[in-house]
């Protein structure tokens, strides 16, 4: 087939066919092949991503029983601490007074005064903003008791709350009653600075209850 010897109409027809073929191939690529490859690529990448997620989930869930047991243990300890050791933000003096009187009654000490001691340092405000959850809350306890009663009171206070700290004890004599001393004691309790955020519903209720 000699191009030069072809007639003008044949050349035009051949050019037209060539254009159709190129156009057809372009249309085939843009409308069929490209979307097909794109879908295939998306499906494959989604499949890869899902497979990776499933593998990770399975690996995480493999230790689920142990995790649940540990979680149950810590949650119980957390709940216990929240209920018994941490002073709530709302009405703290009432909470502390109740604890102090209950403890004192057990050892036969008649507490005269429980008063709040305002001694918050700026450090704790910053620490709470940064990473700590509790800050000190101090109360002054005034009573009259014997030395043995002081020992018993100290023991029961320290046993009732492992995070409690007796920061001051002053025992002064009374001339008329040598066996009964005037006791001034400052006790520092941990108090919520900010409640930790917990995701699980059951434990999320715990700090609110404190």
């Amino acid at each position: 087939m000699d191009w030069a010897s072809l007639s003008k109409e044949k050349k035009q027809a051949l050019l037209l066919i060539g254009l159709w073929v190129v156009g057809g191939l372009a249309a085939l690529y843009y409308f069929v092949l490209a979307p097909y490859f794109a879908r295939r690529s998306t499906s494959e990448s989604e499949l890869d991503s899902l497979r990776a997620k499933i593998a990770q989930a399975e690996s995480t869930m493999r230790g689920e029983a142990r995790l649940r047991a540990e979680f149950a243990l810590y949650t119980e300890e957390f709940g216990n601490a929240v209920t018994n050791y941490i002073v709530p933000m709302e009405n703290p003096l009432s909470w502390v007074t109740e604890k102090v009187y209950a403890n004192a009654r057990q050892v036969g000490v008649d507490v005269q005064t429980v008063a709040e001691v305002g001694s918050m340092s700026g450090y704790w405000e910053g620490a709470i903003k940064a990473d700590r959850t509790v800050k000190p809350y101090s109360v002054r306890i005034v009573t009259e008791c014997s030395y043995q009663q002081l020992i018993d009171l100290v023991e029961i206070l320290e046993k009732s709350n492992p995070a409690l700290c007796i920061t001051e004890i002053t025992i002064s004599p009374q001339d008329m009653m040598p066996m009964r001393h005037v006791l001034n004691m400052t006790v520092e309790y941990p108090m919520w600075g900010r409640k930790p955020k917990l995701n699980m519903l059951e434990t999320n209720k715990a700090p609110e209850g404190g």
Binding site: M1, D2, Y36, R39, R40, S43, E46, L47, L50, R51, K53, I54, A57, E58, T60, M61, R66, L67, E70, F71, Y74, T75, E77, F78, A81, Y85, S121, Y123, W124, G126, K129, A130, D131, R132, T133, V134, P136, Y147, L150, I151, V154, E155, E158, P162, A163, L164, C165, I166, T167, E168, I169, T170, I171, S172, P173, T186, P196, N199, M200, T203
Partner: protein, 230 residues
């Protein structure tokens, strides 16, 4: 001399190769179309298989995802609870348990000495931590110190007898060397004052004394939880 004359019109000449141009074109087109069709079918089958696998994976993930998320939340909560426990342990370790010390104090007191006043006063103190070059951009809200507690102990009392001074000095030494108190002290207890009681005249000499001591600083740090793997 021979002359070669080609009388054929070039368009009428046949190609002299083993296969004709027409055959080559047909074979090439046929091969291209066959290969294209083959790979298209192969690609389509792979695509269909991937779609099936994807549907299966989506089903599995639909079941696993809530369980996985629940475990992640549980892990997050557990980390929070552990951190909280560590914080409380830090508080616990910073305190001094006074009960055994009060009992010991009573037991070590000589019979000729009467303790009149006992004062244990705790102080909270923040040890400023040095800021290194890399921490220059520390946010203002972040504390740069470590909270610590220490206590000053003051014992005021009276001693009777001819050698009351010696008794008091021995008592100071006993107090400083006591196995329960000694590890707590920053430095050995000091006798702050020892003097004759003015109101007492005549009979037995009475000495009033004051002893002071200071405990070591105890950090309120976040202790490592002793149990529970992460």
């Amino acid at each position: 001399m021979s002359i070669r004359v080609n009388l054929l019109n070039p368009s009428e000449a046949r190609r002299q190769g083993m296969v004709g141009v027409k055959f080559m074109v047909h074979i090439s087109l046929g091969t291209a179309v066959t290969l294209f069709a083959f790979f298209s079918v192969l690609g389509y089958m792979r695509y269909q298989a991937a779609k099936r696998d994807l549907a299966a994976a989506r089903n599995i993930w639909e079941v696993r995802e809530p369980m996985y998320n629940s475990i992640l939340k549980m892990k997050e909560d557990l980390a929070t609870e552990k951190k909280f426990q560590q914080e409380l342990r830090g508080w616990q370790d910073s305190r001094i348990e006074w009960k055994p010390l009060l009992i010991e104090l009573r037991n070590m007191c000589p019979p000729t000495v009467q303790l009149r006043r006992l004062s244990l006063r705790g102080e909270l103190f923040v040890k400023i931590q040095p800021v290194t070059g890399g921490e220059a951009a520390t946010p203002a809200s972040r504390p740069t110190g470590q909270p610590m507690r220490w206590y000053s102990i003051t014992l005021d009392g009276k001693a009777w007898g001819a050698q009351a001074e010696d008794v008091v000095v021995r008592f100071v030494r006993t107090f400083g060397n006591n196995s329960l108190f000694k590890p707590l002290f920053e430095t050995a207890p000091r006798l702050n004052s020892l003097q004759r009681e003015m109101s007492q005249e005549g009979s037995e000499p009475v000495r009033v004394f004051s002893i002071g001591a200071q405990t070591k600083k105890r950090e309120i740090k976040e202790q490592k939880a002793p149990r529970g793997p992460q």
